[in-house]
Amino acid sequence: MDTDRNPPEEEMPPPRLAGSAPAAGWVRLPGPGDAAAESRRARRDGVRHVRRMSNWTAAALIAGTGAATVALAHHAFPVSAPAAGAAATTGVGGTAITNGAGGPQVSHPVATTSGSGVAVTTQTQTVNGKTVVTQVPRAASPGS
């Protein structure tokens, strides 16, 4: 996975001048040429290091993103097919399919849409398995 390239030719240290070998026991102080070479080497090594780190970081990010995607997908979509009608409002003016475990089984009507219901209240009940709707006169109620 190491895709480091060799430094380009112009980054190679220049050749030394001929006949400049130091005498025995004498330690040459680093000159400007040496410092430049050292600097280039350090920079080259640093660039290689950074590239290597970047590659590992990118690999880790890709692997992490993939794992997160798999985890989210696992939570978002149940193994079983979503229940029919499993939808939920998401605020004003919007609806969205909700894929979850599904709501409970509810067999009996829970509410009635009708006129404003002032004159009568609609009551529903089940008798022998059949839905029976009864209209009951309502007493006057406070409010608007």
């Binding site: 409002t89 409970p104 089984q105 509810v106 009708s114 404003s116 004159a119 529903t124 406070p142 608007s144």
Partner: protein, 349 residues
């Protein structure tokens, strides 16, 4: 079983538990807004939290928009007899939704019919109206027109002769607010249905196949009721009817759905129209507009793309926009709202 719900102001009527036969849901009902409110939730243990949230919404809406309460914000505006008013966010939203409904319906659902209703005798809570007063109704008062109302954020400019009545959208708005508040109160867990006088909205996860509801008309003289069971998984259903709020003036039968063009009760072919939409305010406005539109209702509903069930005076049922024609069918809700598109949505009270 009555569930006491504490409030800081005037105590709200107590909720009464309703046994529908399913232990998986909890249902409660109480009087509210001159009609009844019903709340259904699952899981059942969420009921108390949902009821408290719905109480807050209903109390706030009543204080904002009831023209029958002297201490309401809209009554305060009407007493001002025209001018520029700084209104609450909640009332601004309510008026904004009403104006957008008027724009969407081409003025069929117009919030400036307040004076027309007063002229007809609907000047107090419906339960307090003498159903057979001998004196005749006042002169018809065609609506000044919703375009005369200027609303810019919380700033409302109203002409002196305009009385607002938000009846075509207020219950729907209340149901929309209530389901949102209930879901917030219950941590977005489970599902909730709120019905305000038969205009109902749902939110969260519905029961399998959708919430089972009934579409029911008023009983005929023989006592029989035309009903249709349907399923609602998302959105809302609202019903407007000319048979449920009727009274007489002299020898004339009147009802509360006024044609803004004439200032008189709508006299079209429909006794009841139920409409499904993404929000209850949309459904509420569309149902009222359909009654007013009369013979043109089906054409308007087709243009609006909304499922609807229309009942003629003779009891004939007609279906539009994909409303299920079989009992137990599921209503498919088209996405998007027309009345919240410019009004400010988002839980304002």
């Amino acid at each position: 079983m009555a569930i006491p719900v504490p409030t800081l102001t005037t105590p709200a009527p107590l909720w009464q538990r309703v046994n529908t036969g399913d232990a998986a849901v909890a249902v409660a009902e109480r009087a509210a807004l001159g009609t009844s409110a019903r709340v259904a939730v699952w899981p059942p243990e969420n009921l108390d939290g949902a009821l408290a949230a719905v109480d807050d919404v209903l109390g706030a809406l009543d204080r904002q928009a009831s023209r029958f309460r002297q201490d309401s914000e809209i009554s305060w505006i009407h007493r001002g007899d025209g001018g520029l008013f700084l209104v609450s966010d909640g009332l601004a939203e309510a008026i904004g939704v009403a104006l957008e409904a008027a724009r969407w319906t081409g003025g069929l659902a117009d919030p400036t019919v307040g004076q027309a209703l007063i002229s007809l005798g609907y000047d107090r809570d419906f339960a307090a109206i003498d159903p057979a007063r001998g004196e005749p109704a006042g002169c018809p008062a065609p609506a000044p027109g919703w375009e005369q109302v200027r609303l810019d954020g919380p700033l409302l400019r109203l002409a002196a002769d305009i009385r607002l009545d938000l009846g075509a959208t207020a219950k729907g708005l209340g149901a929309d607010r209530a389901v949102r508040a209930a879901m917030t109160a219950t941590g977005q867990a489970g599902g909730v249905l709120v019905s305000l006088g038969g205009d109902l909205a749902v939110a969260g996860q519905p029961p399998l196949g959708g919430w089972p509801i009934l579409v029911a008309g008023e009983p005929d003289p023989a006592g029989s009721v035309g009903i249709q069971p349907v399923r609602l998984a998302s959105g809302a259903v609202a019903t407007s009817s000319i048979t449920c709020r009727q009274w007489r003036r002299a020898d004339r039968a009147l009802h509360h759905i006024v044609d803004p063009r004439t200032g008189l009760p709508a006299d079209g072919p429909w006794q009841m129209v139920s409409v499904a939409a993404a929000t209850c305010a949309d459904a509420n406005a569309a149902a009222t507009a359909s009654i007013v539109a009369g013979a043109a209702a089906e054409e308007w509903l087709a243009w609006a793309g909304l499922p609807a069930r229309l009942v003629t005076h003779a009891g004939q049922v007609r279906y539009a926009g994909g409303w299920p024609e079989t009992d137990g069918g599921r209503i498919t809700i088209p996405p998007g709202s027309h009345v919240y598109s410019r009004a400010r949505p988002g839980g304002l009270r």
